[in-house]
Subunit: 206 residues, 2 copies
């Protein structure tokens, strides 16, 4: 096995060719295709071509936010870790995740909520945070929805792709009813790698 491809950009190029081939007749507008393919590249799961939903204004709104140096907030360190921070920093942006902050743990304990919810509460207080990326915690997405409805925050993009069996699908359904730029996955699937892949796909469009 000394003949395997060892050049990273060739591996990625060939992967995207295979994905395009296998998607066959299933086509998307150019920018959405880039997101769908990068998520499939990350998961090897073609079901994402069926369950990814991108609101009409989502990609342009996100591009504009990134270009003006907007910050990104994630619900987990894992999603943060997967986002291309070098690329984001070219525009002055940063990625933050507040889940492990001591004040967040304290707020969660006092209010009897999840740390993910308390982390969202902290995130909306800084106006530099423009893009909210939730790949794990439905409770964070529910909380963010509440803040949006209360007029406390107006994100330029919400990536809402929590994975799981309890609340995940419901938290995303609720989001599709809001008047805010969003990218979600319908049903149970999603996760931190999916969340990061969506953000990176947008970064690579710039």
């Amino acid at each position: 096995m000394s003949d395997y491809i060892k050049v990273p950009h060739l591996i990625e190029e060939r992967s995207f060719e295979i994905i395009t081939e296998e998607l066959g007749d299933k086509t998307f507008p150019e920018d959405i295709a880039k997101i769908v393919k990068r998520v499939i590249h990350t998961t090897a799961d073609f079901q994402y071509a069926e369950i990814l939903v991108v609101s009409e204004d989502a990609i342009n709104s996100a591009k504009k936010a990134i270009k003006s140096g907007g910050h990104i907030v994630t619900d987990t360190k894992m999603a943060m870790s997967g986002i291309n921070k070098k690329k984001l920093s070219e525009y002055g942006g940063e990625v933050h995740c507040f889940i492990s902050d001591e004040d967040v743990a304290k707020t969660a304990k006092e209010k009897g909520t999840t740390r993910a919810m308390a982390a969202m509460e902290k995130a909306i207080k800084d106006e530099k945070n423009k893009i909210f990326v939730i790949g794990n915690a439905p409770t964070a997405l529910f909380k963010l929805k509440q803040f949006i409805e209360e007029g406390k925050v107006k994100p330029d993009l919400v990536v809402g792709v929590p994975v799981g069996f309890v609340g995940a699908a419901e938290s995303k359904e609720e989001f599709e009813k809001l008047n805010v730029p969003y990218i979600v996955t319908r049903g149970r699937k999603g996760g931190s790698t999916v969340a990061a892949a969506i953000v990176n796909a947008i970064l690579y469009m710039l």
Copy 2:
């Protein structure tokens, strides 16, 4: 939507109940079931019940390694980020990922290989590294296989679950032929979240 479950351990408990229900007749030996269910919990993808392969000695070997303070090496920061480091540290263990190290970038450039391969080369030099976790880069798994065959390293567990379309499936097939404790996913699927879930499932058994 003020009636959603907000208590993390209840969410997880209920999730595992649903997974067990939906697995139905598909049962596994107790320890393997814990791994399969945690991976499904992380991905919402029941196909993992079909494609996860655990070698006979893998779980016990990994438990022993962790209990004696063995270190874990991952191929990506994302997999490192998902592993429960607090739990691991109770036994004296640490998680390392060398992919972003300057000397690794230099070696990769000099040898014309991927950074993932150079990172494995660095990892095998420290005898404290007992468990090798590869969720992303087939090239890392190919390289690790070569080092094992050359007798340069004898891991107590290899978690080999790279995801992808170029080399991923092949890199894992090759691994099943080796005489080393392994956990792999057959085919294209896998990823950093899957890798971390497998390691955490073992940590939570202790």
